[in-house]
């Protein structure tokens, strides 16, 4: 192969590489934009879930309010603790049976 032919071949190869590189760049950019759009959607979803989480925490707070629990307990016949209905058990060492109450 003559020098002239070799030069032409190199130029042709470089031209092909340049074209391939340009196409790859366009493809990569397109893909990056697609992925970015997906990321945006995912982040938006994340924010929505976080907001829902906050709302649920508030709902949980409302549902577990002492006033609500007290009202529900009274509705099923429960009543606040009082000394007449409290039995105190002395702490016993591990493994021993508590003494029988008289």
């Amino acid at each position: 192969m003559t020098d002239s032919n070799r030069s032409r071949l190199i130029v042709a190869l470089l031209a092909v590489c340049l074209m391939a590189s340009a196409l790859a760049l366009i493809t990569a950019q397109h893909r990056a934009r697609d992925l970015f759009a997906d990321l945006e959607v995912a982040q938006q979803l994340g924010r929505q879930r976080e907001a829902e989480g906050n709302r649920l925490r508030i709902e949980l707070g409302r549902a577990s309010q002492p006033a609500v629990i007290e009202a529900a307990a009274r509705a099923i016949g429960m009543r606040p603790i009082d000394p007449d209905h409290t039995t105190l058990l002395p702490p016993t060492p591990r493994g021993e049976q508590p003494a029988e109450q008289p």
Binding site: R33, F36, A37, E40, E50, A51, N54, R55, R57, I58, L60, G61, R62, S64, Q65, P66, A67, I81, D82, P83, D84, T86, L88
Partner: protein, 601 residues
């Protein structure tokens, strides 16, 4: 153009075409070539002009107008939680519905539909939209996102929605004054919301984005990153706060009082476990946010503490070796003269020990002890426990109260200050001061924040003095004392009642502040509870009758919530009237005189 000659000699239809045989002049092809060259040159020139010429900015603006957007990125406001992580305040997304009146193109039917969805009177909505001179008007703010979606689905020209946040308070009125509230822009206006605005409020971000033809953001460039608001964890215990609120509310209503407050402090850390006042308001209803309901009375209001001040005078005397717990004082005949004025008890108690002076709340006995002290010593103790200085609890509007310098005290003033007149305090200050008895003589700052390690304590009294005072305060909660109603079944408690006349227009009136400050359990205090009932109007108005039972209920609930095991056999609650309820107050007392002090004619 020359005629193509067929090499093969084969003749086809084209070779016989006579048109091809015509010889065109050479200038025509050259002209065409020149024309094409000029065309390309002009295109190149135009391209250079557009890319690097004077109109670059214009083109960039046009490009940005089509594809670039600058977006505000909202930052969430932090949540407020109690010490156990229960959410007390949190923000959720909402939408603001707004309009450009001159662009709105909606018929009556569309406006009626909009009004129905927004729950706004149609006439009011029509009026707002008719304001053609305005370029912007809010139709409704902080609406639920679902409602905003319905509004958007109407596709009415000129009606838009924007992103906002809405603050929710699950506990409602129970924590209303403590937490405060935010304005429509989600900025703190009162209470914790205001005090911790810098922590709670985030900083919105700003970013440039490039949008594609589908409207999706495909590239971005942050101008300013958003900073999310941080959560604030309070020392408040949600359960104890409820117990305090419910007890206070029922007590204020039962005694037909103007209002009241309760403070519950954790003895170990100085953390505020509960802080509540009545009347209160529902933070979800803006129309209730007015007048007295907004005030956090325990922090912003001062009052003359009356007998709840006596333990500090007695402790100063014990600390200075002026008296011992068993020292005796003759309080007969139930009054004494100082500088032309008379200090009196409600009845004559005879000879009393120092312990009994506290238990029976004798003004004469306390005055006699206080007069043995240098004024500076009493002032030093009162200042060391925090009177005359605003507590740095992290709450807005905390007041310092009034404690004059000892150099200005006359003997009569020294005596009256010793039993709680001529000095003003807030309930939070009073509760904090009792930490000195609960903590064996040292005191820590109070805090509304949940802190891992308490601040450094300052020793004010010797531990022996504080323990002796606890025994005396415990005696006050027995049948011998003024507050048997403060007792809690299963636990020992200690505390002191206070019934102080109120000043109206510079004169002492017939209205009272009933108070009780106590420690529980007395043997090893875990909590200090201070109760104040403002102007009880029922048949009973003494601290032992009105405030002590509230203390008992709150202490019982608090000790249970903190899982403090019962230490004593359950008391049988005394049915007898509290000792100080039997006392009568001389209604003919001079309105100008300090209560317990009569002018000598």
């Amino acid at each position: 153009m020359r005629r193509a000659s067929g090499g093969s000699g084969a003749s086809g239809p084209s070779t016989n075409n006579p048109l091809l045989a015509v010889r065109l002049p050479a200038w025509r092809s050259r002209l065409l070539l020149f024309g094409l060259f000029c065309g390309f040159v002009s295109l190149a020139a135009r391209a250079f002009y557009l890319q690097g010429g004077v109109s670059t900015q214009f083109l960039q603006r046009q490009g940005e107008a089509r594809y670039a957007r600058t977006l505000n990125v909202a930052a969430n406001r932090g949540a407020i939680t109690d010490r156990n992580g229960v959410v007390l305040a949190s923000s959720v997304p909402a939408r603001g519905v707004w309009a450009i009146p001159e662009e709105v193109d909606a018929g009556k039917r569309a406006v009626a539909q909009l009004a129905q969805v927004l729950e706004v009177p149609a006439a009011e909505l029509q009026q707002r939209l008719a304001g053609q001179d305005r370029s912007f008007v809010y139709l409704k703010r902080q609406v639920e996102p679902q409602i905003a979606q319905r509004v958007e689905s109407f596709n009415i020209a000129g009606i838009h929605t924007s992103r906002e946040f809405r603050r929710l308070y699950p506990e409602g009125a129970i924590t209303a004054q403590l937490l405060g509230f935010t304005d429509v822009e989600d900025r703190g206006q009162d209470g914790i919301e205001l005090a911790f605005e810098h922590t709670l409020a985030g900083r919105p971000g700003l970013r440039h984005v490039i949008k594609d033809r589908l409207g999706r953001a495909v590239e971005d460039d942050w101008v300013r990153e958003p900073i999310e608001g941080r959560d604030v964890r309070l020392s408040i215990d949600d359960r104890i706060q409820y117990i305090a609120y419910a007890s206070l509310r029922s007590a204020v209503e039962a005694s037909q009082a103007h209002g009241g407050s309760i403070v519950v402090l954790d003895v170990a850390s100085g953390g505020i476990l509960a802080l509540t006042s009545w009347p209160s308001f529902d933070p979800a209803r803006r129309d209730q946010m007015q007048g007295q309901a907004l005030r956090d009375r325990a922090v912003t209001d001062t009052f003359e503490p009356g007998s709840t001040m006596k333990p500090f005078s007695i402790a100063t005397a014990l600390e200075n070796g002026v008296v011992a717990p068993q020292s005796t004082f003759d309080t007969d005949p139930g009054w004494m003269r100082i500088g032309g004025r008379t200090i009196s008890d409600t009845s004559s108690h005879g000879v009393l020990t120092v312990e009994q002076i506290v238990a029976k709340s004798s003004n004469v006995g306390t005055a006699k002890i206080a007069l043995r002290l240098p004024a500076q010593a009493l002032w030093d103790t009162l200042t060391a426990v925090g009177f005359g200085q605003a507590p740095r609890a992290g709450l807005p509007g905390a007041v310092a109260g009034r404690l004059r310098p000892p150099g200005e005290w006359r003997p009569i003033e020294q005596a009256t200050i010793a039993y709680g007149y001529g000095v003003s305090v807030s309930l939070l200050q009073l509760a904090r001061a009792y930490l000195v008895f609960a903590r064996d003589g040292d005191i820590v700052p109070v805090s509304v924040m949940d802190v891992d390690s308490p601040a450094a304590a300052v020793q004010v009294l010797r531990p022996q003095t504080a323990q002796a005072m606890r025994r005396m305060l415990e005696l006050a909660c027995t049948d011998e004392g003024t507050a048997p109603a403060a007792r809690v079944p299963g636990y020992s408690v200690a505390g002191k009642t206070g019934t102080a006349r109120k000043l109206h227009d510079g004169r002492y009136s017939d209205s009272y502040v009933a108070s009780f400050v106590g420690l529980a359990p007395a043997s090893s205090p875990r909590v200090v509870i201070a109760v104040m009932i403002d102007e009880p109007h029922g048949a009973r108005y003494f601290g032992g009758d009105v405030a002590a039972p509230v203390f008992s209920r709150v202490a019982a609930g608090t000790l249970r919530a903190l899982q403090v095991p019962p230490q004593e056999p359950a008391y049988a609650l005394a049915e007898s009237d509290a000792a100080d309820s039997a006392r009568s107050v001389d209604s003919a007392r001079s309105a100008r005189s300090v209560p317990g002090v009569r002018s000598v004619q």
